[in-house]
Amino acid sequence: MADLIEQRDKGLYCAVGDFWIDPWEPVEHAVITHAHSDHAKAGHRRYLTMADGVELLRLRLGSDITVRGAAYGEGIDINGVQVSLHPAGHMLGSAQVRVEHKGQVAGVSGDYKVRPDPTCPTFEPVPCNLFISEATFALPIYRWADSSEVFAEINAWWRGNQAVGKTSVLFTYALGKAQRVLAEIDNSIGPIFAHGALMRYEAAYTAAGVRQPPLTYCEASAVRAQNGAALVMAPPSALGTPWMRKLGKVSTAFASGWMTVRGRRRQRGVDRGFILSDHADWNGLIEAITATGAEKVLLTHGYSAALARWLREMKGIDAATLVTRYGDEDDDADGSPERAAS
């Protein structure tokens, strides 16, 4: 029997319902798991996404797109196929897509993490027969510490910089990671400034009820006037640009799961690397995949081949790699979290 969801040239396709999930080329009807650029492309006729993600999608793709927002768990009929969205825990509005037809259930994870995140509901396993999962960090070297530990380190780094009069510049992916950091960091330490690339999403987050500390647009003179007390949040693309030099004396840090590996940390040329990811780590992936009870698993992103082999050999699950255009190993070979974290 054919799978409910299959790989086609334009992306993941449900033939019975005639709709696509996170397609990378323009289609008639697209279900979007979340607003990161490798999943949410412009040019589709109609979009369906989780309600909290609608505004983010508009900010990224234009206010003129035709988009329907759905609540988590809300049943939607598309050409006789039952479709529903479920929390993925990756970022605001991120969802797994559950597709059911004639007793067969397929799940598409999009990007996800299993640990809690104050900016969105926690991941919920969706029992299914076929599970299409991401595998960005699917190697056992990637095992995350509790985020409370990581934030204790970040807070200590910020305080330490204050003590020696250096502005703290923290690089994170502009959408998702940045707002999570803002929600969890101890904002009583000092004033927080943000690069323009981050500022544009703040209103959407606040409107969705996510707690965010007061944020000031980052003007160099205002930052310098704080004499090293301030934290500046910036996207990775700002690293090493003239913009940074204007900030005066700084200590730089990068927050990403890729910071686990020393070589990638050094490549980034920052003073500190904080291991903080919005993806599941090795254990999280295995936990999530086994919780679905799926008899067939297809893997996208990252180290999918290693995880597929492990699932086949150790768990006896029918697992294989899907070649997609989501950030795969080739694209993030330079350790670029801009692409890889999306």
């Binding site: 070297i141 590996v261 070589g263 990638r264 050094r266 490549q267 180290y303 082999r309 080739d330 070979a333």
Partner: protein, 533 residues
């Protein structure tokens, strides 16, 4: 272990020498003498004996983490360093170990070679439970004899000299002597009282800058002295208190490698310091640099090599005469003193770099063109009335180098780099055509921009045809212009030649692989170069 780990990470995180110095100084100041002594020992490139093979470590880690071997290889391929890979996969919730570096070495590292396999395994597994990931990483490096630190020995020496409040050259001299990683020896190394009159102390070298402007912009040629630019090792010959010290520019004492030069220099009067070049030299002509390298690589020179590769000290300046610092004197005056000092030496051991007669800048330009024929790198142009400066101060000494040799070669394989470049394919193998086959001609890893490296890296990942260990063979498609300083016959290389200092001068995106150079054309170049020397 916490302080040491933090120091290691700080050194690792920065490329700035000043930050490395600060990190080292604050470490040396804050830890106990026995810990500082051990850190110094490790930072000086001295190794603990390799107690456990990497293979054994890998299999214990696989067992501790319940992971199949292939998955560990997969991780290793991603991380690029086995010690680090294993430190990341073994399960442990430890927040780290508080024992000091010397305690860790005494309790967990030194005993290892004496233990049987079962006891070793127990101790290693216990350490994995007690240490956090960065500590485990360093532990692996230490017990497998592969510890390296992100700070040059010179920087470590400078930091220690600063902490002790003595001159860096004195510290370098002391570090070269006998000392063990003990608190007592560390305190002796840092002793300020005995530092004052160390006779070995060299002057900082004055370094020439490459001339990029037109020769004519230097003004009247009569104001300048022109010499050949010798292709050897820049060195300082010191004779003080009856002892001779031969220092290389890397602040390394090279007495042991060149005992005949040291013996010859004993005839210099006390209180003499000469600047010059050590050259492989026969019948009044330089031998190729690779001959000299054979001498440099040996600490103790065997008789055979001694005769096979004769050497000379080619002096070109004098900084000290009869104990007086002459560096403020004009070049011409120093040159006159130099001639007096060296006139009675056997010219096969100690000689002076004679100025070349040049009446016009045109003469200088044609000298540069002849440089390859003389076995030199080009010419040096020195202002006649200039003092002997410190470091690379521009304006008085210029080097005017002949153009490098170049060939177009095809990339055939790639390997990941080290350290900062460990996740990228940055080290490449190149071939030239021999019939329909590509014969390896050189390996090179420098010369490309960061963007180009990333582009080549993507090419390698997408066009890999086979894998041999860490090396990926790639589709022979990319052509690079390789520049190099010399070419020499070699039996170790399949092509029969070896290139000196090959680097990528240009990515020839315009050139199809088929049009790259052939082995025949490279051999013709070798014949040409050999005929000249």
């Amino acid at each position: 272990m916490r302080a040491f780990t933090e120091l290691y990470m700080r050194l690792d995180a920065t490329t700035k020498r000043t930050e490395k110095l600060t990190a080292l100084e604050s470490y040396f100041r804050s830890v106990a003498a026995e810990d500082a002594a051990w850190a110094l020992y490790l930072f000086s490139g001295r190794r603990l004996i390799r107690a456990i093979s990497r293979r054994r470590l890998r299999s214990w880690a696989a067992e501790a983490a319940s992971l199949p071997g292939w998955l560990i290889d997969e991780c290793y391929d991603n991380v690029g360093d086995l010690s680090e890979t294993l430190s990341l996969i073994v399960p442990s919730d430890s927040e780290g170990c508080d024992a000091s570096l010397s305690q860790v070495i005494a309790e967990r590292i030194k005993p290892l070679p004496q233990l049987d396999e079962g006891e070793q395994r127990k101790l290693v597994m216990q350490t994995w439970r007690d240490f956090n990931a960065p500590q485990r990483f360093l532990f692996h490096k230490l017990i497998s004899g592969s510890f390296r630190v992100g700070a040059a020995e010179k920087t470590v020496c400078q930091a220690l000299a600063n902490v002790a409040g003595i001159d860096a050259a004195v510290m370098a001299h002391r570090l070269m002597g006998k000392w063990e990683p003990t608190a007592a020896d560390f305190e002796r190394l840092c002793d300020q009282a005995s530092a004052a009159n160390d006779p070995s102390q060299p002057y900082p070298f004055y370094l020439a800058s490459p001339l990029e402007a037109e020769l004519e912009s230097l003004g009247d040629i009569a104001d300048w002295q022109v010499e050949w630019k010798w292709d050897g090792i820049r060195a300082q010959m010191i004779k003080r208190d009856g002892e001779v010290f031969l220092w290389s520019r890397g602040e390394e004492m090279i007495n042991e490698q060149f005992p005949e030069l040291v013996a010859a220099a004993k005839r210099l009067p006390d209180g003499t310091v000469l600047d010059g070049e050590v050259l492989a030299w026969e019948d009044g002509r330089p031998l190729p640099f690779h001959m000299l390298q054979r001498r440099l690589n040996r600490k103790r020179v065997e008789m055979m090599l001694f005769q096979d590769v004769p050497v000379v000290f080619m002096a070109y300046d004098v900084m000290e005469v009869e104990g007086a610092d002459l560096r403020a004197y004009p070049q011409d005056k120093r040159r006159a003193r130099l001639m007096q000092l060296t006139s009675e030496f056997d010219a096969n051991l100690m000689t002076v770099s004679e100025p070349i007669d040049c009446e016009s800048w045109g003469d200088v330009a044609s000298c540069k063109q002849q440089a390859a024929r003389n076995g030199t790198e080009g010419v040096m142009i020195k202002r006649r009335d200039s003092a002997y400066e410190v470091g690379r101060k521009k304006g008085n000494w210029w080097k005017f180098k002949r153009d490098p040799y170049t060939i177009d070669a095809v990339m055939t394989a790639a390997q990941r780099g080290h350290g900062k470049r460990a996740t990228l394919y940055t080290d490449y193998t190149f071939g030239v055509w021999h019939g329909d086959e590509l014969v390896t001609i050189a390996k090179a890893y420098s010369g490309l921009t960061g963007d180009e490296i990333r582009e080549v890296d993507r090419f390698v990942r997408r066009h890999s045809t086979d894998r041999k260990g860490p090396v990926r063979l790639v589709k022979p498609e990319l052509v690079f212009e390789l520049a190099f300083e010399g070419i020499q016959p070699s039996e170790r290389h399949k092509a029969g030649v070896a290139l000196r200092f090959p680097r990528m001068a240009r990515w020839r995106k315009d050139k199809p692989a088929k049009e790259a150079d052939t082995l025949e054309s490279v051999q013709a170049l070798l014949a040409q170069v050999e005929a000249r020397q």
